[in-house]
């Protein structure tokens, strides 16, 4: 199954997924200290999408994302130090302590910013693709968003214009079936989100977002199409967030989502499934995975320690960066 992809790529995919998982797990364990004084929207359970998409992107390609963007930024190349420092509100955070968890940016790594207004980043990614077209720099843009965004006008307005102009942009919908606590079936008719692509004259693909190989393959085709001037693609990856909408806690006990549904998705953990597959196919050994886990753990130790040691922004700098 994975034999057509080289070992380096497979390892990189796994490593990215594991880095995201371990980073988010560490946020969960540190959050009760109340030193990260900002809302965190964790992506535990959704790691395969960030990894499977960003593996195809060049450093200078653009991604735009949402309030749930830690994974996307890690996969695109943001360092863990500036990410952690931003969660801790420090002056050397990726957004100099002005953004917090919901507004991460790293323009040098193709992350112009993330927005916490649902659907907000979709037309902005289209604009970045227009910019790439006008500058003829060969870049492409990716918009990450959730299933709720498919209900917003910006989704349809963005897809319409991207298709009209055949812009090099990929719309990546992480369908985790919930917008905060509202289930998808209470919000949308039973139409695949990917099928909305047809109405906008572009290809739409949906499938298992917990299977990183599926994500990898679907996105590869979309990236090739975008780079070749073939225009945009809508990808819908079905997945599940393990934690509540916001914060480090589970929302299953409070009755927000059915326990059986949650357990079914946890059984299909994207990181574990891929790890087992790589071991079964002798790409990685348990020892490799253990060593990877230790080295990533050390990197996260360093990032969190760096963040806690870093200075806060000066209150006298409150008005800096408004314009």
């Amino acid at each position: 199954m994975t034999g057509r992809i080289n070992k380096e790529t497979l390892t990189a995919l796994f490593r990215t997924m594991l880095r995201i998982r371990l980073f988010e797990d560490r946020v969960v364990s540190l959050y009760p200290d109340q030193e990260m004084k900002c809302p965190v929207h964790l992506c535990i359970g959704q790691e395969a999408i960030a990894a499977g998409v960003c593996i195809h992107l060049r450093k200078e390609d653009y991604i735009f994302s949402t309030h749930r963007s830690h994974g996307h930024c890690i996969a695109k190349g943001m360092g863990l130090r500036p990410l952690a420092a931003e969660l801790y509100g420090r002056s050397n955070g990726c957004s100099r302590g002005r953004g917090g968890s919901m507004h991460l940016a790293d323009p040098e790594n193709g992350i112009p910013g993330t927005t916490a207004i649902v659907g907000g980043c979709i037309p902005i990614a289209v604009g970045a693709a227009l910019s790439a077209r006008m500058k003829k720099n060969g870049r492409i843009a990716v918009a990450f968003f959730g299933d709720g965004a498919a209900e917003e006008g910006t989704f349809h307005e963005g897809l319409n214009y991207a298709s009209l102009r055949k812009l090099p942009v990929i719309f990546v919908c992480e369908n985790n079936f919930y917008a905060t606590n509202s289930p998808l079936k209470a919000r949308q008719p039973e139409v695949n989100i990917a099928d909305k692509a047809a109405g906008h004259g572009m290809p739409g693909v949906w499938g298992d977002g917990n299977d990183v190989m599926f994500v990898h393959d679907a996105c590869k085709e979309a990236v090739e199409r975008a780079r070749a001037g073939g225009g945009p693609t809508l990808l819908e990856f079905r997945t599940y967030r393990w934690k509540g909408h916001v914060g480090p806690d589970s929302d299953i006990e409070t009755g927000c989502r059915p326990a059986a549904e949650y357990e079914e998705w946890v059984r299909r953990c994207p990181v574990e499934m891929f790890g087992k597959r790589l071991m079964k196919e002798a790409v990685l050994s348990q020892g490799d995975i253990d060593r990877l886990t230790v080295s990533i753990g050390a990197e996260i130790d360093d990032a969190m320690e760096f963040a806690r040691r870093s200075p806060f922004p000066q209150q006298s700098e409150m008005l800096d960066h408004v314009y």
Binding site: Y62, F64, G93, C94, S95, R96, G97, R98, G99, H103, A105, D106, P107, P112, G113, T115, I117, G120, I122, P123, I124, A125, V126, G127, A128, A129, L130, S131, A132, M134, K135, A141, G153, T154, H156, E157, G158, N160, Y161, L164, D320, H321, V322, Y323
Partner: protein, 345 residues
């Protein structure tokens, strides 16, 4: 960066060549078109986008002919999707372009409030200044001929409330060109609100490109008895009122805000301190509007020099009516300003 080479007029004078001889006079409409053409010439990152900007009318003539010269890739028509297309313009701006997004009416901006307020205005701050949004949004106030409630609004106050935005309202051709070029040169999102009734105004406008920075008003007419602070079309009603008042022995100073956010506080306060009386004439509504902001400024910084309560000339608190009978009564005129000033004596 071609924009740093352009001369800036920070003089606060109402036009540097306005008294020169043999100077070319052009209309407000042509001044805007000239500014856009020069921006397109100077900087390959500049592009224009908006509904119908490449049609024969060319947004009341302000973009006429530009698509033929610069091509559809730089002067582009747009879907009817104000919020989405504002997002597209923001996306282009945060990745190195300098888009000018053009709306035929200010009334279409409420459709794009999410992208303007939540995104354009916040992006620089949210990214700790690492990513700028050099975006210019042009929009036009309509008036008359039954334009009615949704084709004639003056919504400058909505935007002036938001940190991260700048809001400019040029009244003269000279300012229209300089403020628009200044906005395109700026790394921050700027809303430039024009007025349809100003497009035929003519005055001397330098042929070369020049910039007027946000936050600098100008004195249109000097006076000693009352300051009439106005913007956009109301500057002309204020000037007419000043002429009438002169005949009746009252000397009015007319302050043109040019920039409704940021305000030129120094200019306003010094005028009020000089005259001791303040009338504010705005194209918009009274409540929480620009007139309230200017009045508050006078209360905060020049209260001791006021010889009479501040007066405000604004629209009545109703949507714009269509019938000519009502429309005529809806818009304040110079006569109201004159009567108000005389009451303050």
């Amino acid at each position: 960066m071609p924009w740093t080479k352009i001369q800036a007029d920070d003089s606060r004078r109402p036009g540097i060549f306005s008294s020169g001889q043999g100077v070319r006079e052009i209309s407000y409409r042509d001044a805007i078109r000239e500014a856009l053409g020069q921006a397109l010439d100077m900087d390959p990152d500049v592009f224009l986008i908006g509904e119908g900007i490449d049609d024969p009318g060319g947004v009341f003539g302000t973009t006429r002919g530009l698509s033929e010269v610069y091509g559809a890739e730089r002067v582009m028509d747009s879907p009817i999707a104000e919020n989405g297309m504002t997002g597209v313009a923001i996306g282009a701006a945060v990745t190195g372009m300098r888009p000018v997004l053009i709306h035929m009416r200010v009334d279409f901006l409420p459709l794009s409030m999410d992208q303007i307020i939540n995104h354009a205005a916040k992006w620089s701050y949210m990214t700790g200044g690492r990513v700028k949004v050099p975006l210019t949004i042009r929009a036009i106030i309509g008036r008359g001929w039954g334009s009615a409630a949704q084709h004639s609004q003056s919504l400058q106050a909505l935007f002036a409330h938001i940190p991260g935005l700048r809001v400019l309202m040029p009244a003269s051709p000279y300012d229209a060109k300089g403020l628009l070029l200044g906005s395109i040169a700026s790394d921050s999102p700027t809303v430039v609100i024009e007025h349809r009734w100003l497009y035929d105004q003519k005055e001397a406008v330098p042929e070369e490109a020049y910039i007027i920075h946000a936050g600098r008003g100008t004195i249109r007419r000097e006076g000693t008895d009352v300051s009439i602070v106005a913007s956009s079309y109301m500057v002309y009603e204020a000037l007419r009122a000043a002429s009438e008042l002169e005949k009746r022995g009252m000397s009015a100073e007319v302050v043109d805000l040019r920039s409704v956010f940021p305000l030129d506080e120094e200019l306003i306060v010094s005028s009020v301190r000089k005259t001791g009386r303040l009338i504010i004439a705005d194209t918009g509504w009274r409540s929480c509007g620009i007139s309230a902001e200017v009045a508050a400024l006078a209360a905060e910084k020049a209260l001791d020099s006021l010889k009479a309560p501040v007066k405000r000339i604004c629209l009545p608190p109703a949507p714009t009516p269509a019938s000519p009978a009502l429309e005529q009564a809806y818009y304040p005129t110079f006569q109201q300003i004159v009567a108000t000033a005389r009451e303050m004596q």
